[in-house]
């Protein structure tokens, strides 16, 4: 994980989540994971291509996802319906887009894919190109959200 990429993702995740939830969030220590690892329950995925290749995963439990979607929509949602899913995807899109904008200012150019949402229990994400993932854990009043960034340089 190139050092220059780390800060933009951390800042973007922090800013966007704080803004959409309108509450204080706590950033915990960053760490690295092998890419084959379990997902918490609801994962929004945005692909990156360009100078680097990889993906960003916004990962949280179903409960957290519902709380966040409820807060963002200002209404109580009780199941993962279309609206809840679209809300989580939009948040993923905002975070990734802001990070990519910051990176563009630093001179790195990326393209994004539209977000896709994966829900279910007992899932694992693996990458064929065996790249490790940077995890940015954010503790929100709605629950734990993990920003999981796995990108690598094109060699």
């Amino acid at each position: 994980m190139r050092v220059e990429y780390i800060n933009p993702f951390v800042e973007a995740a922090y800013n966007v989540i704080q803004e959409v939830l309108q509450s204080d969030i706590v950033r915990k220590d960053l760490y690295l994971k092998k890419t084959s690892h379990p997902v918490l329950g609801v994962a929004a995925m945005v692909g990156l291509a360009g100078d680097v290749e990889g993906r960003v995963l916004i990962d949280m439990s179903q409960e957290t996802a519902l709380h966040i979607a409820s807060t963002m929509n200002n209404e109580e949602l009780t199941e993962m319906d279309e609206l809840a899913k679209a809300t989580i995807m939009e948040m993923a899109n905002m975070i990734t887009a802001q990070a990519v904008t910051k990176l563009f200012d630093l001179g790195f150019k990326f393209d994004l894919t539209p977000p896709s949402l994966i829900t279910g229990s007992n899932m694992q994400v693996s990458n064929a190109n065996e790249v490790e993932a940077l995890i940015v854990p954010l503790e929100t009043p709605q629950g734990l959200v993990e920003i999981n960034v796995a990108v690598r340089e094109r060699m």
Binding site: M1, R2, V3, N129, E130, V131, E132, M155
Partner: protein
Amino acid sequence: MNQLTDEKLKDNSSFVKVDFSMVTFTLAGKDYGIDIMKVKEISKASTFTFVPNAPPFVKGVYNLRGDIISVIDLRVFFNLQVLDNTNTESENMIILRLQDHTIAVIVDSIDNVVGISTANVQPPHPLFGDINIKYINGIAENNGHLYVILDVERIFGTGEAAEAEVSAESGTGRRPPSAQAPVPGAGNAAAAPGKTAEESPEEELDLTFIEETLVTFASFYPSPVNQEWIRNRFSSWKAKRGENVQLANKEDAEAFLSSFYSPFTGTFWNNDFADKIASFINKDSKGNFFVWNPGCANGYETYSAACMIKKYFPAVNLKIIAHDNDLIKISMAPGLAVSKPGEGLIYEGFLAESTGGYQFKKEIKDSILFEYHDVTHNYSLPKLDMVVMRDTVSFLPSDKQKYIFQVLDEYLKPGGLLILGANEKPLEPERWETVENAGVTAYKKK
């Protein structure tokens, strides 16, 4: 008459079946071919627009009648020798039309179009050296020339064929951990002292205890990498401390290790030291030169190595991959500033003045890629020419030490150079050739 027809038929037997035309060209004196259906046109050009942060084989971009296309130097891409081109001559380009994009490749010279029969294309032999076998469609003979037919779709394509290839490679290229061969001679650190029978049991016990406390207080892991040093150090330590040999706290452990650290660990190298390291590098190094620097911390040694190679081997395409899992330290590394233009230090002449001190010149910075990485995770490295990890391995638990040497086994080129700390030895020493220059030691992979 009948005979003539027969002969004609025989002569043309291959001609009749021509179903594959290829554009032929040379790279470093050897003949290659590309399927003509992939070739859009042939062109000459001399000025390309440089693209920052691009891999070394990307020559830049080129404006082809309004279409911006990227230009790849095939010779650099395949690690072949690049003929000295003084830039007065324009380069020969083959412009390829691939499934989803157009790209130009630079070659030495373009010959002509050759028609062959696909039936005569031989599959590539697995022993082919210059170009990785998966990029080759096959070999064809024509008029006494052997042509290597390149599969450009697979080399430059981004389509499914290329993707499948990559995943297949990563699937088979790596052995699952359970199938990895045990590394002989890299036994458990705690068991290692038992091997020497000469020392009395009491001394053994003291040594074992010291080894255990080094792990606790200094996260220093005794292993065959540093075993020789520990034994010597133990003798001198005992002579100095008498009865009180045990390491009671962090300070004791640091005192014990004080003579372990190699000269210039975690700091800039001086010219003398860099000279010696440079003397180990193959004088004929050309083209791409990949260096891996795990445990780079603040990047002092990484910059030193970069300056050293730029100074002695200005022609090589240098790329250093520096890894560390200390986020704070490595975050500082890309913008490292030094206060003065160091007399006698290797970076002299590679600095540019900036606000609040000196920074490294762009050519040095561009050659280094700092990555936040955990050494025990998976790697995706190029084939390496040199590895700098001084006083790094000893601070990893023994299973991670073994893993690092497995990574070296996989990625370091034969003859590649390994620089360890002054008091460290590689695991499996029989697989390494020791080279020495006035007190500085390095290892070459056999």
